[in-house]
Structure formats: C-alpha cells, structure tokens
Symmetry: C2
Subunit: 406 residues, 2 copies
Amino acid sequence: MSIKFKIIKKDPKSRARRGVIFTPHGKIHTPAFINVGTQAAMKALEIGDLKKLGAEAVLCNTYHLMLRPGADIIKKAGGLHKFMNWQGPIFTDSGGFQVFSLGFGMERGLRKINATLKGGLQEGKRGVPPLGGKKLAKIDDKGVTFRSHIDGSLHRLTPKSSIQIQEKLGADIIFAFDECPPPFASREYSIEAMERTHKWAKECLKTHKRRNQALFGIVQGGEYEDLRKESAKIIGAMPFDGFGIGGSFGTACSKKPIEKTLGWVIKELPTEKPRHFLGIGGVDDIFYSVKAGIDTFDCVSPTRLARQGNLYLRPESRGNIRNKFRLHISKREFKKDFGPIDKNCGCEVCKTYSRAYLNHLFASNEILAYILASKHNIYFIQQLFREIREAIKNDTLSKLEKNWLS
Amino acid sequence: MSIKFKIIKKDPKSRARRGVIFTPHGKIHTPAFINVGTQAAMKALEIGDLKKLGAEAVLCNTYHLMLRPGADIIKKAGGLHKFMNWQGPIFTDSGGFQVFSLGFGMERGLRKINATLKGGLQEGKRGVPPLGGKKLAKIDDKGVTFRSHIDGSLHRLTPKSSIQIQEKLGADIIFAFDECPPPFASREYSIEAMERTHKWAKECLKTHKRRNQALFGIVQGGEYEDLRKESAKIIGAMPFDGFGIGGSFGTACSKKPIEKTLGWVIKELPTEKPRHFLGIGGVDDIFYSVKAGIDTFDCVSPTRLARQGNLYLRPESRGNIRNKFRLHISKREFKKDFGPIDKNCGCEVCKTYSRAYLNHLFASNEILAYILASKHNIYFIQQLFREIREAIKNDTLSKLEKNWLS
C-alpha cells in the first residue's frame, strides 16, 4: 500500500477521529482540509504560501489538467509535484464530477443547476438529463464522451483512462472514476448511476498499477438510504486505500441530508481506512462531517469566496451560521474601517492590513485583493482544522462545536 | 531639506553617477529603478516581495489615489506607508500626467494617441487638443478640470491642490504639478505649456509645507532645444530638492529624442541634486539616460509587460534590442519547454518553475501567472540596475552597455 493511515485518538462522544495519513510526499494530520488547486495552481497564491498558511496537501482536478496542459506534458515535466513545485501530498479527483456536471448543462459547481432546476431532472432516466439541449456530455455504460469547455473538442473518459491519466499526473492519492448523479435524481436513475459506479470501481482497481499512489473508491447512491448503504458496503469491501463520499450536497441540499447520508454510509465503511468528503467546505458542514467520521475534505470555497470579497470571520469576531462566518469587504462601511479583517485572526494579512485597504483593493480591481483575501481565508480554514484536531485530542470537540455554531 | 543626495562615484566617460538618496524612510542607491504601484499596491505582488526582489522604493500615482480611495482616507490610515505597508521610500507623481492624458482622449499611456495621431494635435493651440470630442479634461492657467475615469464625476487639480493632496498621501518624494504637452505638440503650444509649468512650479514651492517630504520640480519644453534648455535653467534655479524630466517619450518617439533632450537639459540642472526621468523603462533608454546623468527612473513596463506574458531575457540568454529583451511565454513553442524562463537569471521563479508551467498558467488565466511573471520582470530590472551601479563603481559602464546593447 502506498499510504498508511494511523488513528491517534477517537472522540468518545462521536465518530470523530484524529489521525495521520502517511503519503509518499509526507504526512497529512487529520481531520484535514485539502485546499483545491484546480489547474495545478492555487488561485491567487504561490504554492509555497500554502504551506506557510498551515496546509499540508492540495487537490488538483483531472478534468481540467487532461484538457490543459494535458497529462503527457505533466508527466514529461516530472509529474504534478515538480510541475507545480509542491513537495507535499497531492490528491487528484477522477474527472467524473466535472464531466457529469457538463452533462447537467453547467460547468462549475452546482449553483447554475439549482437556479434552473424545477424537478425536471427526475425525467432524465438514462444518459444526460434533458436540460436545455446544450448538453456537453453523454454517458454510456463504458464511460463518458464530452466536449471540452475550453475549445469544444471531443474527449472520452472511462474508468481505465481516468486512472491512466491520474497515474501520469502522479498524485499521492487518486480517486476512482464514478458517476455523480444530479441533485434530486430519481430513484431509478440513482440505482443506474450507482451500479455503473460499482462496476467502474472494479475496473479502476484492475487498471491501477502505480505503487507509490493510493486509490480511493467513491460511495454514491443519491439521497436514498438503502442505496447509500448498499454502495458503502460494496465499495467498502473493495481493496481501496481509502474512500470518498460523493454526491450533490452543499449548495443543492440543506444540511440535513449531509448528516443523514454520512450516518448511513460511514458505519458500512472499514474503520481503519481514511474517508474523504468531496466538495464540502461550510463551517457547519465540517463540524457535522467530522463528528460523523470524515477525515479529509476538499472544497474551492475558501479561495473562491476570497476572490468575491467574502472574508471569513471567527466566532469571537461575530462570525456565525447566519452570516456564514464572513463579511463582504466591498461594503461601504469598510471604506474607512482601519481595523484588521478579523482582530481575532492570527494571519499575516490581519496583522498587516486594514479593512479599508482591502476595501480599496477590491474597489480598484487590484490582483493584490485576491492574494490577500485568499491568504486570510485559507489561514482561517486551516486554523479551524488545527482547532478541531486539538479538540479531538483533548476531548473538547463538542465544546468547540458549540463555540462555533451556537 | 527632507532628503540628502550623496554622489559616491562619477563615470569618467559619461555623465553617469553612482549615489545614495537618503530619505525619511531609508536609502535609495542610484541609479535606481522605482517600480510603480499606481493604486497604493504593486500589481500582482505583495509589497513585501518588492524588497526581496531588490527594490528600495515605490512610486504611486496621485491621480488614481485622489479619486480612490481619496487622500483623506489615506491620511486617516496614517499615510501611504502605513496604508500599503511599505516602510521604504515612496514617490508620488503630481497627477498632472494622467490628467493631461485624459485631455488627449486617452486614459493610460501614450499608445492610443499614437494610434490615432496623424499630426492633428499641432492644430490644438489652446486647451485640450481637438481629439475625437471625447475630452475628459480642460486646462486653464490656474489648473485642470477633469472627469474621473471611474465614475465621470467632476474634479479639479491645481498646483496648490496637487501639493496638498500629496502632503496628505505622505510620500517621501513628491513632484510639482506640471503640464505635460502632447507628443508632437506645436512650438506655440509647447511654449504655453512650459510657461504654465514654470508658473505652477513657483506655486507648488509656495504651497509645500511638509518638512519630511522632498519636492521635485519638473522640466518640460517639448521637443524644442531652446525651450528645453530654458525650462531646465528656470526650474533648475528654483529651490527644489531634485528634478524630474517630463515629456512624452517612450512609445511616442524614437530613442534619439531621449538622448538629445537629456543632453540639452542635464547640463542646465544643478549637479548636486538628484534627477528623475519620468515613465522610462526600456533597457536601451535606461543605458542612454544613465549615461546622460539620470539618477532615478519609474515605469510600469516591467509589471505591465509581465501581465501580458512578456518575460525579460538577459543578453546571455539572447535578450537584445531587436526582441526588446523579452520572450512571449504564450507562444506554442514554450508549451513543452521544461527549462526556466531564463537560465541566466537568478530569480526564484527561474530557479523553481519551467517555461511550460508559465505557458500553462497564462493559457489557463491563472492569477499565479501574473504573480510569477511580475516577480521575474521586477527581479530582471532591479538586477540590471545593480549591475549598472557596480559598473559605475568599477569604471566599466561602457563595457556593460556593450554587453547589453550590441
């Protein structure tokens, strides 16, 4: 096995656990938040800064990298670590999520689909749901044919090619190629997608040869308890090095489904292997998921929010569930506010610059606005995870959660 | 006097000199290149990185800052140094150049005007030249009334208000409010603009009260030898702490006028005070100007070129006058080029990343592209100036020039 996972401490009151994932490129202390560097680059940040901000690993997206610059170029460059100059652990996803998102008629995230969705997806029993006719992807039992969002060129991803591409990229932890069904998919379609995911999981295991690289399976099953349990049981029994929980949560659903789904799934997965929750980044979601037994998370939200001027606030600085733990720095009230973004934050940005300066940078469209905002938000999320790990160590996780969420 | 200038060494074969400007915020070793941080921010760079790249000072633009966030906000923040977190010397220009540029129907630089110019400006004898009817500024003998390029609001700059604003901003070295006539201005108009500049220079001196701040006068006179000499004599005799050479060079004219103009002007200026050349950044221009006796330069070109993907090349790496000492990283040929931008460059970017990675970042519109490109280009220009200072010290300036320009 290419990684080792050691559980150091279990929370007595929940399924939360503190651990270490040992990878070919160093340790990841869990629970951990894996910041996303989609195109082999952190948005608005030098990769060296990521480490200084407390992050130990980064996740890149196979879909984007296979299209640009292409897996062969990255392989020739000596792999992702060398190409992007990140010597720590790297995750790559399978490309599945992005490709299926194209099928739903959207390119990034689940926001657009939520805006256009009126239950119509229930009708889409097979293949790409009938959304607007502008579908960019077509699913069959062997894989997905899709058009590049960059130049419209035709591509195909299969379980085999996804693994081969990820082997070329050379991440420490890679994911099996799965089908992520659209939010509110019908039971019938959810079964179909799940069965395809299970079949593809086997093909991924069969294809995967690279020894210094862990392969994680992905649990699907939509919003259905029996399907989720079945998927967790089947995928959990396969010889994967760890497991990802997939699906359309976050913007698509309320918090409840996350707690409920994790409750169904986690019990069926082997205790001793790490569990990754794909695409989750809200503070409340993080607490629920850590308590449910999740070890690692990835999400674009800290950096994406930063670029929109949404800067995180700690609970001591009036960050809470209602304001989503953030302020919008472009508001008029910050124009003459010479205090730091968050006086209870320990990051360099808060020690150095004022809200007035950040407000000015955003108003002036300065790239520095994105740089400083991203640094602050990444520090915030990494600091939250440091506190979570510390709390599990000290049996104070529920106290920490109360401080943050009440 | 708020600054001191000490000449350490003179070049035996030219007017070049090596010196130190002592400012309230530290030394500037000359000849020096002052990078531009227009809106109280370096483009795509944390200000702390500027120092690491070898820069000792930065220049901000009064025009932009008076409009956004406004001089009062910067004063309340504790001045520019504190607002932008730069503890070294700061220059501000007077706002004149930008305001008059608006009058010519352009917002930034001289490029647009060059494209539309067919000698028509000669006809504009008074006020704003008749260019397209979209004039945003109107000159009179007391100042300039102009519309903000941001929101169209009406503003006025006069010698007095320019100085008062610059006192609020709190730079170490500020400039007198002058009129920069358009390129190819008629002799008649050049005289008019020059005389206004001289009258305004006196008003600036009379207004300026801040003691820990040097005030530089600006020499104008267009392309006319007698006017340039007259302007240098008159401005040079006023009790300024240093002098700027203004005018429309660079993109507007060939190199010749720069050498010629500096030849006329420098002899008339006091030897013991520093001389700043406004807005010049080409490698060949820099050598000509240093030899003519210029001590400091400012220009947006290193960072602007960087953001366009134009990365500097040293002469050992085939940088030369013909290719303007640069390569365009977005070219197809660099997609699979795993060597550094410039193997003879000592910057961190060249030690760390490949041309293929930079090519990918530019293709992918990653902000990191601008960050890394800016770092490389700033290092390049600062390194050039380190070599120029060293060459003056060792009486090898003409050898260095030959290495670079032949």
